[in-house]
């Protein structure tokens, strides 16, 4: 049993070791890793970076190709300029060669005949010499080999002309016999043959250069065509990528829009469901409560004589509980409606709003000694009915929680007034609250006091928060047990009061 299990690892090792001897040809392996690294890097990028990397690569390629093509074309154009120069130079050299030749021949005729007419070409060459030289120097500019030859040619021309001038002087001074030998052989035979040689050399040099440049231009042109083709291909790839990306983007957008619409429909359905839920809460949950209170009342009436005090209290508790539950349901419905209701957006005069609230609370304020400090408030943007509920809740709360004070103080003021936003507070010197419960204060049905201390369902501040949030504001509170409480809220203002 043991030996086969021991052997198994050996068997499994064989296929493992097997491929290794095949892999050693290292060049394909390293070649592969050379390609794999950038591909892995590319795949690790986000889609946006991939697009950026791809586009950069293509742009760089197009840029390089454009630069190289431009330089190639410039080179071809420069070559053709050089060609023109070469042709001109060859033409000029031929002309000089012929002119010098003609001068020498006519000079000989002059020596033989003494006819001044034959000196015309000699004189014209003397006149043309600076032009020839300037032209030559210009056409060989930047080519040192040719410039050297030009210098030699210039020297030879000068020597020829000097020899001829000498011969003319001798003829004039000493007569034909003195120049007879020169008249037969020519005054500057050596210089003329030297000029022929230099001109032939220069011509051959230029022809070689021409041939070389033709080959060079042909190669460059081919090169440029290939590069431009690659550039066109890259541009095509770029266009195709752009097309693909735009299409992809449009498809994606369409998908998102569809998804949004689907969600919207779901949300609408959910909202409808919620509405029908609150409808049935409003309708069906209240009915049994009505019955409880109704029958309790009927019962009390039916047995009123035989009821003892305890039984009366029980019946009263049944009625009170039913009523309380009815109140809770109503409050909850108001709260839920507050979230769904359409909101107005108008300027609201908070000073007027608070005046009417105090007027509406006048019955609750009877028999109370309250000192009010109410600041002039700015006009805010919002729904007047909802904001009325906010301040009604806050002020009624302040009145309620100061009921244990012999002298209550309630203050409505501005904490901060920034551009576009105002922080308003309602402060009282009532029973306050422990800051550790501050987070619970604005919750639905959250109460920090016992029912027999202060009545209420615990929905008021939840409504305040919901309304202020719907106006784009925030709510928070500060307090201390038995010292009082301050409720803050922010609201968007219509304009700044200076």
């Amino acid at each position: 049993m043991e030996s086969p299990t021991k052997e198994q690892p050996h068997i499994s090792l064989v296929p493992c070791e097997g491929p290794e001897p095949h892999s050693p040809p290292p060049s394909p392996a390293s070649d592969e890793s050379f390609w794999r690294a950038p591909i892995m890097w590319f795949l690790s990028l986000t889609i946006e970076r991939r697009i950026l990397a791809g586009f950069s690569l293509v742009f760089a390629g197009i840029l390089v190709i454009s630069t190289v093509s431009y330089r190639n074309t410039s080179a071809v154009i420069a070559n053709s300029g050089l060609d023109t120069r070469s042709h001109e130079l060859v033409q000029l050299l031929t002309n000089i060669d012929m002119a010098m030749d003609q001068t020498e021949n006519n000079h000989r005729r002059y020596l033989v005949t003494g006819e001044e007419l034959y000196l015309e070409s000699y004189q014209s060459v003397i006149k043309q010499r600076p032009t020839f030289i300037r032209y030559l120097e210009h056409l060989t500019e930047g080519v040192p080999e040719q410039q050297e030859r030009v210098a030699l040619l210039e020297r030879m021309m000068d020597q020829q002309l000097a020899a001829e001038a000498h011969a003319i002087t001798v003829l004039t001074n000493r007569g034909f016999e003195a120049v007879k030998k020169m008249a037969l052989e020519g005054a500057a035979t050596r210089e003329i043959s030297e000029i022929h040689k230099v001109v032939a050399e220069m011509e051959s040099y230029e022809r070689q250069a021409l041939r070389r440049r033709v080959l060079e231009s042909a190669a460059t042109t081919t090169n440029t065509i290939v590069l431009l083709s690659i550039g066109a291909l890259l541009q095509f790839v770029l266009l195709a990528a752009v097309y693909y990306l735009i299409r992809h983007d449009i498809t994606e957008r369409r998908r998102v829009a569809d998804e949004l619409q689907r969600r919207g429909e779901l949300l609408e359905a959910a909202n409808k469901e919620l509405e029908s839920f609150s409808y049935s809460v409003s309708h069906d949950l209240r009915a049994p409560l009505r019955h409880i209170d109704g029958y309790a009342s009927l019962l009390r009436k039916a047995v009123t004589e035989s009821l003892n005090e305890k039984a009366t209290r029980y019946l009263q508790t049944i009625s009170d509980s039913a009523k309380q539950m009815g109140q809770l349901i109503d409050d909850l419905l108001v709260f839920s409606r507050m979230g769904r209701q359409e909101m107005l957006q108008t300027g609201v005069d908070l000073n007027q709003l608070i005046r009417t609230i105090l007027y509406d609370l006048r019955l609750d304020l009877q028999g109370r000694e309250i000192s009010w400090t109410i600041a002039t408030l700015p006009e805010v943007l919002g729904d007047p009915a909802m904001l009325r509920q906010v301040f009604m809740n806050l002020i009624a709360n302040a009145v309620k929680f100061t009921s244990t004070r012999t002298r209550a103080h309630i203050e409505v003021g501005i904490d901060r007034l920034n551009s576009g936003e105002v922080v308003i507070y309602v402060r009282d010197n009532g029973v306050g609250f422990d800051m550790q419960y501050a987070g619970k204060l604005f919750g639905v049905f959250q109460r920090l006091h016992r029912m027999d201390e202060f009545e209420g369902t615990g929905i008021g501040l939840a409504n305040v928060r919901r309304i202020v949030h719907r106006h784009g504001g925030r709510t928070w509170a500060e307090g201390e047990p038995d010292k009082g409480a301050t409720f803050y809220l922010t609201l968007p203002t219509r304009r700044l009061r200076s």
Binding site: R286, H291, A322, Q327
Partner: protein, 151 residues
Amino acid sequence: MTGAKPIVLAEDNPRDAELALAAMEEQNISDKVVLCHDGAEVLDYLYCRGPFASRMKGNPAVIFLDIKMPKVNGLEVLRTIKADTHLRPIPVVMLTSSREERDLGESYALGANAYVVKPVEFHQFVSAVKELGTFWGVINEPPPQGSGSGK
């Protein structure tokens, strides 16, 4: 003058019906009340059909309509009444649990004469029913009989 005219109370919930009747009893108008348990019955009564085929002709003084009822709901009954030239003059009071704006708006749009939300508290309920019964059943002067349903 109006003493003989009946009051129709459409209420599918027997407890609500009993409570309403108890409230009306205090006002001594309970004997004039005709109780219908759903919308179909209300229409049968108004058109003198089925169990009401042999009733005395004439429109009731007022109809108290619950909205949520089986078979034919209150809003449908209201629509039928206000679409019928003979029935249109009958005052219709929507007496319902629903405080929903939708129901309120639709009721008034269909031509309801009043909309009363049944209070949870029985004493309030009693006083509401009392006042409604007294106002519509006793005080309010009904339209002349000629415009009623009598053929």
